[in-house]
Point group: C2
Chain length 300, copies 2
């Protein structure tokens, strides 16, 4: 394949995604797999990358710009966190991975000193957002396994919070006693919103309301199809209760998978706030393109 | 072995314990194992019990009185929940398990209709407590995988709450990203109490303070030995925030394993409440003895 300027790679904990980018910025080929950082020893990163690039028809001289957990201490090579601030110049903190010849640049994560916080991957999505919203002031929410709430001031990351909402939902719905009461189908927006309002108004109630899901099931054996929506609402309501000082009274830009940004937008509506969703993949790609311009002088 | 009046069995989700009781109430033999309800199909309960009894030297005619998850719908035979109220007459709700001849009585759990709640196993500990505290009015707390907070009035279970604190602690400390920041050693009471006070005063802060444990570790690489105490304190502080209407201003009797009742007593101290610990095993045995008296007319 000719006319590939660079390959953009989003290499996370449990996934790998790559896009071959033409000089005009177009995506010429893409590839995704489940070879995430968690399953790879350091020596396994180069062959994993090369196999993916070969599959995409990318030649040996095309450089790569990568973000995500690939740059964690447990990843391929550590790209140390840069301090919060300007997310438009992540390239300055990039680290070259050891390869047999190909240039592979790994972008850094961002850290906040106090209260301690870190992100790795989301900073690239923020960079992509800033490409279309230069000098942005406002609130970003990036929901996921670990949801990031980011206060932006004049295009800089001013401070941010992390909630473990997605990870808690997965652990509780799949591995706790509540797993017996979860069904795969049956989402109900009204049930979800009622649960959000419950923990948003009185966050301490989550201590006792979780087990009620199981107890109701055991006593009534009634239709449990809303249980998943209820659990999700309780946890996202707690998330919102703990992050209200960021989003209260603001307009929130949600960056994530469409289904998840829709869910958080519903929840924020319960808090009287309007939110609009942006697709995370598109912003990751925009952030990697911006970094590639700085690293490679690429014309994209 | 002669002079065995009955065998008391506490058959839980993941454990089996049996005590051979003499006519004077003395424990003549005991046995414990990990053949809990979770690992057994219904047909496996009789041989598991008989093997344990044979190991203890108990003859075929000695009856058994059992409590716990053995009586759940997924257990050996369902002993349907009885309504909250008098815990001194659990025997009335006992169910005889199908055996080749031996009398095996399974005690029921207790249920509360609204808000929905259930217990199975703890009701027998409460019966044991009532044996030494007849007509008790006050608050019991039975900490564990699922912690029960019970309001007793005139010796009756008036209402109760369940928190999933123990299960959440195990899931988060062993399976979430925080597992990387947990060490086996290093408990610190002062750290624990500070964490309790944090979520007791502002329960919504747990949404963001959990990930701070990991972020602090990643940034400083400093000594993480207090992380376990801090996580425990955050979760028990949330537990207490959600159950305050029961324990606030009361004296609490804690029924559980000694290490756990000590931990909850420390936490309750942060809420200005005095608590005393009672050993759960002794009370389980007292509750099973009381039921055996009613079922068998045994002189113990």
């Amino acid at each position: 394949m000719s006319h590939i300027d660079f390959v953009a790679v989003d290499w996370g904990t449990s996934s790998f995604r790559a896009w071959a980018i033409a000089p005009d910025g177009a995506v010429m080929a893409q590839h995704q797999g489940d070879q995430g950082m968690n399953g790879l020893a350091p020596a396994e990163f180069p062959p994993t990358l090369e196999a993916a690039l070969a599959h995409m028809g990318v030649t040996a001289r095309v450089p790569v710009v990568a973000c995500g957990m690939v740059g964690a201490a447990q990843g391929w090579i550590e790209a140390p966190y840069v301090a919060i601030g300007d997310a438009s110049h992540l390239a300055r903190g990039a680290v070259k991975a050891p390869t047999g010849g190909r240039d592979v640049f790994v972008l850094p994560g961002m850290k906040q000193a106090s209260p301690p916080n870190v992100m790795r991957g989301e900073e690239t999505q923020i960079a992509g957002f800033l490409h279309s919203h230069p000098g942005f002031t406002g609130v970003l929410c990036l929901p996921g396994t670990h949801t990031k709430w980011v206060q932006m001031v004049d295009g800089r990351v001013h401070n941010f919070l992390t909630t473990m909402t997605g990870e808690l939902f997965n652990l509780i719905s799949r591995q706790s006693v509540l797993r017996h009461s979860m069904t795969d189908k049956g989402w109900d927006d009204a049930i979800f919103e009622e649960a959000v309002q419950t923990t948003l108004a009185a966050p301490e109630t989550i201590a006792t309301s979780l087990f009620e899901i199981r107890a109701r099931d055991l006593q009534t054996g009634s239709d449990q199809s809303p249980a998943r929506a209820w659990l999700s609402g309780l946890l996202i309501g707690l998330d919102l209760a703990g992050t209200r000082r960021l989003w209260g009274g603001q307009t929130v830009h949600l960056i994530g998978a469409p289904a998840l940004t829709r869910t958080y937008a519903l929840a924020l509506g319960c808090g009287g706030v309007t939110a609009q969703g942006l697709d995370a993949t598109a912003l990751t790609l925009a952030g990697l393109r911006a970094a590639a311009r700085q690293l490679l002088g690429a014309p994209v």
